[in-house]
Assembly symmetry: C4
Homo-oligomer: 216 residues x 4
């Protein structure tokens, strides 16, 4: 890392990071999200040969499959939201780059929290904490995404495309904050029931994914 971040940011003012710059931000974000979503498969283990039947062993792995599907859909939906959020931007500045980087950091950690809940969901010891970490990692991601939305919509209006109206800005930011609620609930329920936590995370993913069927 060089010492010229500040210089670069300043230089950025003189080379306004239009088009290309935003394109690279999207490309990089797409890359990280695509990799995180695909690395989830590494959490699916190949059962050891020998012992019980393969069918039995795969059946016992159901938490891994459930967590794979939930996390895949959730990351996919955050990607769709991210895509919509960036579409409203005309320009990006250093603050957007850093908030976006923090968002990617929280997305990047999901293959780990997914593997954790898959491993511990059926353990008597650790299942509550693992579920809490799982829902908590989604909550953290949502909080940072909300911060990104709030920052661009309400504090960096000059970065937005002209056709994003003020009334829409407030409404979209408000909805983004509403999106935090289910993960707060899921995290809060972790000490009570790890299965309930997983179920809520799954329900959120399905809820955001299904509209397309209804609107047909």
């Amino acid at each position: 890392m060089s010492g010229d971040i500040a210089g670069e940011a300043a230089a950025g003012e003189r080379h306004p990071p239009a088009g290309m710059s935003k394109a690279r931000l999207e490309a990089f974000s797409d890359g990280v999200i695509a990799i995180a979503i695909t690395l989830l498969v590494l959490d699916l283990r190949i059962p050891h040969v020998g012992g019980r039947s393969l069918g039995h062993k795969l059946g016992e792995q159901w938490p891994s499959f459930a967590a794979y599907v939930i996390s895949f859909l959730t990351i996919g939906i955050i990607w769709i939201n991210h895509h919509a959020a960036l579409r409203r931007l005309r320009l990006v500045d250093h603050s957007v780059l850093i908030l976006n980087l923090l968002l990617l950091l929280t997305i990047g950690i999901l293959p780990w929290s997914t593997a954790l809940v898959a491993e511990y969901l059926r353990q008597s010891s650790g299942q509550h904490l693992a579920a809490g970490v799982y829902a908590g990692s989604f909550l953290l991601m949502s909080v940072v995404f909300y911060a990104l939305q709030h920052h661009t919509l309400l504090r960096r209006e000059h970065l937005l495309h002209d056709d994003v109206r003020a009334s829409d800005r407030a409404r979209i930011a408000r909805r983004a904050s509403g999106g935090l609620a289910p993960y707060v609930l899921a995290s809060a329920l972790a000490p009570v029931s790890a299965y309930a936590t997983l179920a809520i995370c799954g329900a959120v993913a399905v809820y955001y994914a299904i509209p397309f069927t209804l609107e047909e």
Copy 2:
């Protein structure tokens, strides 16, 4: 994940997701498919040092190499098909994004099913189930791809480029459904012979890959 998926989708109507939007869908899909295809290499193990000769041990690994090549070609061909399918689209809507996400989910799982069949192909116990899961994962991918094709070609015609004729639309959708047949067969044969299942999957991959030689 924020709560504004619905809001975003609605916003999408006002910021019609032309060009850029489709470009990001392609970029993200390319990313996931490229990663899934490259992660296949992680299933190729390095034989432990010691014991029999390296040549012997590599020879015993042949199911891994066969599965690598078959899965690589199959994912590569679905990428080519995906590319052709998206090229016909002028716009994407939320339903296309979600169907595409489900397609990526089924592609993302292939490194696991590939590793599974490689590990169990020569085991007396589990080989049939592993082969069934392998062919079944290709079948699932094909079904979702068919759903995406059917949806865009026959139910979302307004998303297509103007030069995609009605007669072509029906024909392409029909062919996509025909593509399911070999994987139905391969899955059905798994309880009989895991090798036959693998052979069919391999034949499909080669069949779709060779035309270029013939057309010269």
Copy 3:
């Protein structure tokens, strides 16, 4: 995978895959090559805690570091070549897509062959075969790249940009065939000396990388 590959290819004639199509081929290839080159790091192991000093253990891992650098540079250089090869193309057809896919298949396997030579280079048993597999995987990649070059330059001239002259075409294809020689030599020397094989592969990588210093 759907059954409409042939249909798609035919459709491709009607929707000539200009610009966009080539752009996606590049994006997908960039993705696969970028992933393969980055997965090399997974071959670098973290020494187990305990026993000899960390310095000693890292020193013993030198074949891993050497193989990492050689493979990284080699993949990087094939990427540069791939980039130059595609820049000459105006259009891509199904045959180019498939040859490109085969090239990616051979690149995708390199993290495995790199790990293999790193693991076996200092073993009395297996070192020659491992080195042969390593050089052989580079040779295979070069052969497929040569086939792609030959195919596009000499058999699919209509896909090329107009400013690629006939005399250049033959010359470039000839040079590509010349590039096979060092890997033939490296493979042939594997039964004699695994170190010599590694040294040749390394020399090739450095040779193609240094010109920039000389031309200054």
Copy 4:
């Protein structure tokens, strides 16, 4: 790898690698950096079931989490800098491609050095060396980035956009060299205190990331 690197480079003169060429360099670099940053998650282990409580085991893993965050931010910031450096370029030549490849090589190795320091930070034996390798890998990356900056800004001015002024060029290069200092310090302190080394690396990451808060 083919033998026509030199030929390609020469060909490059005749097909000046404007726009597209630079776009692919960015795409490939984005890919490698995005993958390296996302692979960091693989260093986060899932604690083995059994024994102490999960909370206790996760607490003991804190060096992994700290190293994850530090490396993630550092790679993210080098990406931002890389992005700014390439934005100034109008064209790329072979020398830029190779320097960029070397930069990617040093970035690609970071998941390994991150895992190394995470594993050894709390070991009495090896912690100093591991910390030195960690800071040293950041230093190496910074040196190559500085070389890339120096090369493009001061020795390949014809590759720059016209609006990059001479006074800015010297200033930016000077700042890039200043960016080496903290990593020299962090590396030098490794034999004294591995924790101090980690703290400096973390402080650098935070320092470059926070400006956005201050500038509001």
